[in-house]
């Protein structure tokens, strides 16, 4: 068993403390913006569980996100505000249920085939909301009454939603950190490194992988619920493969195999996007923001094979010209 290093603990405490204090100095736009990033961070964490810790590259995470979001809208009563106490678990359950279905079938395949089967199931979910009366077509559906309108935790207030999201971000992080240290998490790490060996030593790996897949889907559903409540609106684009792809990019950019990598990746990706889109810095060139983002990503791959999480080591190496031995590693 391994103990968390002081550097990482300090980083996490500073990170979450910074998020907790941020609304004190930020305007309305900033609060909404960071809420959005935190939701993506939860989503990235859910994918990190699969990709970074089990070695299952899921290219359909957006479906579970979308099901959580559509669940929040479709299950809410038309003319009143629902209580999130039952609505949130219902959305998580709906996403987890679809994950059970998708996982049970797609885990029969491996490698690139697994990537494509998860994509296929996500596309099916996409077309269900896109082309059937259930999902309101391309226009999407509105959530007229946000959950908890008359209660103490009124999620229609941006600050309340911000802290609500932050609590769930911290909860997700801690939950996954504990999960990965448990017997279950060790088994997942074993599957990632050498599944044949796990099978040979008597682990039937399928239920472990399926359980991880369902957990991941459920957490993605949680993120979807939060997103629907934040925007008060859902549309099929939430389930498109572009989002699944962007999520994969986030966690690879941040650094695979580390939960912090997912956090850093989600924040870095969206900040970079906003940075290159900013008119103030790039003027009229800002409409070509993808060029800067693309070049930054290529530079990251070239210089930081471990992802952004390897940045401190890289700087250290540049400054002192020596290779610091990395003593801590998650898995």
């Amino acid at each position: 068993m391994h103990t968390i290093s002081q550097g990482r603990l300090a980083f996490l405490l500073l990170f979450f403390a910074g998020l907790a204090l941020y609304p004190l100095i930020a305007g309305e736009y900033g609060v909404d913006f960071v809420t959005k990033i935190m939701i993506y961070a939860i989503l990235a964490l859910s994918l990190e569980l699969l990709v970074g810790n089990v070695g299952l590259v899921c290219f359909g995470q957006a479906a579970f996100f979308g099901i959580g979001a559509y669940g929040a809208v479709l299950l809410s009563p038309q003319d009143a505000s629902a209580s999130w106490l039952w609505l949130l678990p219902a959305c998580v359950a709906a996403a987890a249920l679809y994950a059970l279905f998708v996982g049970a079938l797609s885990l029969r395949t491996k490698g690139v085939y697994f990537i494509m089967v998860t994509l296929a199931f996500a596309q099916m979910a996409y077309y269900v909301v896109h082309d059937t009366p259930l999902g309101g077509g391309t226009d999407g559906i509105y959530l007229y009454f946000k959950p908890g309108l008359d209660s103490a935790i009124d999620l229609s207030k941006p600050h309340t939603l911000y802290y609500f999201t932050l609590v769930f971000l911290v909860w997700t992080f801690v939950f996954l950190a504990i999960l990965l240290r448990s017997h279950f998490g060790r088994a997942l790490a074993g599957i990632k490194i050498n599944e044949q060996r796990m099978l040979a030593s008597g682990f039937y790996t399928y239920p472990y992988k399926l359980a991880a897949f369902i957990t991941s889907g459920g957490i993605a559903g949680l993120a979807g619920f939060l997103f629907a409540v934040k925007d008060g609106f859902v549309n099929p684009e939430m389930m498109s493969w572009h989002l699944s792809g962007a999520l994969l990019i986030m966690i690879i950019l941040g650094g695979l195999g580390y939960l912090e990598g997912a956090l850093i990746g989600a924040f870095a990706f969206i900040f970079l996007q906003e940075f290159f889109k900013s008119d103030a810095i790039f003027g009229s060139f800002a409409k070509h923001w993808q060029l800067g983002l693309g070049l930054t990503i290529i530079a990251c791959v070239a210089l930081l094979p471990k992802g952004l999480i390897g940045l401190p080591d890289w700087i250290h190496k540049r400054l002192y010209g020596e290779k610091r031995i990395i003593t801590e590693k998650m898995s």
Binding site: R108, V117, A120, Y126, Q290, G294, T296, I298, V301
Partner: protein, 289 residues
């Protein structure tokens, strides 16, 4: 559906499937032989379509000269890209390749936007091929689509010949099985990879140029084709050129007839098909080899 409609849809399906095959073949070659997942492959298709639009004025609007010029440029582009970016990726994790090629997609998309702009363009087929052939009493069929199908078949046959009958093809096949062994036999594998990559890019660009008069030219057309080509590659079995051929035709027919028979579900049919096939055969229809 009467006979002539059916025939026309068959021709459409064939033409679409063959075009998909051209793009998917490059993808499966680069993956099967070099072990690189190249997300930017769809961008080459997009680049091709825009070349058909942007290069035409330079050669006086001559369609065939445009094709030749485009292919030459594509070979150069592929050669340089392999040297500058992809040659560093062989030893890396697949997901690092995904990240890098995703970055390349963004760069290509923006360079296209800076150089040519974001407008949708229609392209006229050359005069000789602009006509239609009568089919049955009232139906006609555009000659250009037949030309595209013919070109695709010629290319497919040519590639098949190079791969299975020539010394170059033999070296490439050997290189995909064991890189080090081929190297130790005194074959310049680095150069071989560069040739394969350049060929893959050139074929995708050519597919884009051929498709331009049919599908028109629009931003984001690369991503659309990329994802469906991955479906083709996976159904056929990764690395299998024969598999890609049959899978591309299968998708072509399913997609075309899906649009006619069940328009409301046409978008999802290809994915349902892929899921079913992979659940039945987890390694695709044709295993590479």
């Amino acid at each position: 559906m009467d006979l002539s409609t059916f025939l026309i849809q068959c021709l459409n399906a064939l033409q679409y499937g063959l075009l998909l095959y051209l793009v998917a073949m490059g993808l499966t070659l680069i993956f099967g032989i070099m072990g690189v997942i190249n997300l930017a492959h769809g961008s080459f298709y997009m680049i091709g379509a825009y070349m058909a639009f942007a290069l035409a004025p330079m050669v006086g609007g001559n369609f065939y000269l445009t094709l030749i010029l485009g292919v030459v440029l594509a070979v150069v582009l592929g050669y340089v890209l392999e040297w500058a970016f992809f040659s560093y990726l062989y030893d890396r994790d697949h997901l690092q390749q995904v990240l890098m090629t995703y970055g390349l997609i963004l760069v290509f998309e923006e360079l296209r936007s800076i150089l040519v702009g974001d407008d949708v363009h229609g392209i006229q087929p050359p005069e000789l091929l602009a006509g239609t052939l009568p089919l049955g009493d009232i139906m006609t069929y555009p000659v250009y689509r037949l030309f595209v199908s013919g070109m695709c078949i010629l290319l497919a046959l040519g590639m098949y010949y190079v791969f299975s009958r020539t010394r170059l093809g033999m070296m490439i096949r050997a290189g995909s099985v064991n890189r080090e062994m081929v190297q130790s036999l005194g074959i310049d594998i680095q150069f071989l990879y560069r040739v394969v990559f350049a060929a893959g890019v050139a074929i995708a660009v050519l597919a884009g140029m051929l498709a331009a008069p049919i599908s028109s030219v629009y931003p984001g057309m690369g991503n659309q084709v990329l994802i469906i080509c991955f479906v083709v590659v996976v159904i056929g079995g990764i690395g299998s050129i024969r598999g890609a051929f049959f899978a591309a035709l299968l998708i072509g027919f399913v997609d075309t007839f899906g649009k006619v028979l069940v328009p409301e579900a046409s978008g999802v049919l290809a994915y349902v098909l892929m899921a079913l096939i992979l659940l039945w055969k987890p390694n695709g229809l044709f295993k590479a080899g």
